[in-house]
């Protein structure tokens, strides 16, 4: 499609990856001191910054207070310079509002909100540079930020997108590949539970299973990387901590 060969005959993709290979993931927790939790994550050329405030007293309209759990409040925005073509508004359009909704939904599933009745948890994610898989990168970055904030979660939430080209599932799509087809999954890897599933593509039903399988494997791959980042962070901090 579109005159681009997304998968060469030798089985290599545009950026030289194999079909199931993930992009390089680099991350850091605790980027900012003022927030309760923060994290920066880059996955290939997509970069996101996530910040968590809370749990804290409800702000703004008290009518949103939930009496049995914490309310999760997400805002997704993109830096105006994050895309090749300059964006005019960082947030507020239909797509970003939807993305905010999806993030909220994902973290409502993963965070143990029932521990914090009547409080609010803010998760703000900013895309600094966009090259496909914005949702996944946001989820991964936000997961790290939530862990950094010490907010209890059932498990990591890892997200990844997969595409389907020439009967082959491709993992972790970049922007050029995303235009063809994409299935995004946010997974709690340990239980194999899907917190969010979204697909934008025409795909025959028979291929669905293979694609979902690929997506879940990719998510588990991401989760390994995140796990490393978290453990590294823990040790760095704890090594210096003189135990009483």
């Amino acid at each position: 499609m579109a005159g681009l060969e997304l998968l060469s005959d030798q089985g290599y993709r545009l950026d030289g990856r194999k079909a199931t290979e993930l992009r390089k993931v680099q991350a850091r927790m605790g980027v900012f001191a003022q927030a309760d939790g923060s994290a920066y994550l880059e996955q290939g050329n997509t970069r996101a910054l996530a910040v968590v405030y809370g749990p804290h007293e409800m702000r703004g309209s008290r009518s949103r207070t939930l009496h049995d759990r914490a309310a999760i409040n997400c805002q997704y925005s993109m830096a105006t310079f994050s895309t090749a073509e300059r964006k005019r508004r960082p947030h507020g359009d239909r797509k970003s509002t939807e993305m905010s909704l999806h993030l909220k939904q994902t973290f409502e599933a993963a965070i143990m909100t029932q521990l914090y009745p009547r409080s609010q948890i803010d998760i703000y994610v900013k895309i600094l540079q966009s090259d496909g898989g914005n949702y996944s990168v946001c989820v991964n970055a936000a997961t790290l930020a939530v862990i950094d904030a010490g907010i209890p979660m059932r498990d990591y939430v890892c997200a990844c997108s997969v595409g389907f080209v020439d009967e082959t599932p491709l993992a972790d799509l970049c922007y050029a590949e995303e235009s063809v087809s994409s299935l995004s999954v946010a997974l709690l890897p340990r239980g194999g539970q899907i917190a969010l599933l979204q697909m934008d593509a025409r795909l025959h039903q028979d291929h669905l299973e293979a694609l979902m399988e690929a997506a879940m494997t990719a998510c588990k791959g991401v989760s390994k990387v995140l796990d490393e980042v978290v453990r590294q962070h823990l040790q760095e901090a704890a090594v210096l901590n003189v135990c009483p």
Partner: protein, 293 residues
């Protein structure tokens, strides 16, 4: 005039040293701590399929049968008896709302404060009207957690002469998990200043008071200028606290004092430079280890 500009430095990636990789007490969310059903579930854990699982990233702590995971950084999870430093955010009927870095604003009831004119004085309707004269929005107080409401909000009290409104000094906000639990959180440091290490991570540095003026019931604050020498000590302590916190060193009177001593060779304003910070903290840790060993 001084402007210190530099390129950011790449963080030294600590190779996961042997000593650290053996630390089994560090867990991440979803890690199974034990499948033994004999343990009790504490903070930071949940039970999934009869297995005790961590829900936060941090250190596992065991007290008898109770297992908790203490995250490196979190909001204050108050318990009865904790000493806190907080800021008044709202004056309501018969109570103040206090920001204490908890997940909900804490409450200080009018009936839980000592009012001028005797401890056992009845609260009159007049007191309700003049609440803002005792404590108004923005004021800092030190207090103790009296009880915890069912939704997790804290009820505070200041019914002791050591608690009450705070006067001149400097507030440093840190992570509550860095504050070590001790018998007392009020310290008159030998270097010439006093500190309240609130369990909630709010640390209050103030000049050591001469003698307690007790007649005002804790609502009177002196507005006399603080001497330059005291100021220097307080500023140095403040920067030391930030340095220790940046390197996640547990805070208590000794660690703060050692850090203060190690920092003396530097100017106060230089302490916050990354390399100086690192040096001071290393020295502090050495001293702490020596003392332990």
């Amino acid at each position: 005039m001084a402007a210190d500009m530099r390129l950011p430095r790449v963080r030294k990636t600590l190779s996961v040293s042997e000593s650290a990789s053996h630390r089994r007490d560090l867990v991440v969310p979803g890690d199974i701590i034990t499948s033994d059903t004999g343990f009790m579930r504490g903070h930071g854990t949940y039970v999934d399929d009869d297995k005790l699982t961590a829900s936060v990233a941090g250190e596992v702590q065991r007290v008898d049968k109770l297992i908790c995971v203490r995250p490196l950084k979190t909001r204050f999870n108050g318990e009865v008896g904790d000493v806190v430093v907080g800021r008044i955010t709202e004056v309501q009927q018969k109570r103040w709302k206090v920001e204490t870095n908890s997940r909900l604003d804490s409450v200080l009831l009018l009936s839980s404060v000592n009012l001028p004119g005797g401890e056992l004085r009845r609260r009159s309707a007049e007191d309700e009207l003049t609440m803002r004269e005792y404590l108004q929005e923005g004021d800092l107080i030190s207090a103790e957690v009296q009880s915890v409401f069912s939704d997790g909000a804290l009820s505070l009290h200041t019914r002791s002469l050591k608690y009450g409104k705070l006067g001149q000094g400097v507030l440093v906000q840190l992570s509550p998990s860095l504050v070590k639990r001790q018998k007392t959180h009020f310290h008159n440091l030998p270097c010439g200043a006093s500190v309240i290490l609130g369990n909630n991570g709010f640390v209050w540095l103030y000049p050591t008071p001469g003698q307690q003026e007790e007649e005002a019931g804790g609502f009177y604050t002196s507005l006399e200028p603080v001497s330059l020498a005291d100021r220097e000590v307080i500023s140095r302590l403040r920067n030391c606290l930030l340095a220790l916190a940046a390197h996640k060193v547990l805070l208590f009177d000794t660690s703060l004092l050692y850090c203060y001593e190690s920092s003396l060779q530097h100017q106060v304003k230089d302490i916050l430079k990354p390399e100086v910070m690192e040096e001071i903290v290393m020295l502090t840790q050495q001293k702490l280890l020596e003392q332990e060993g």
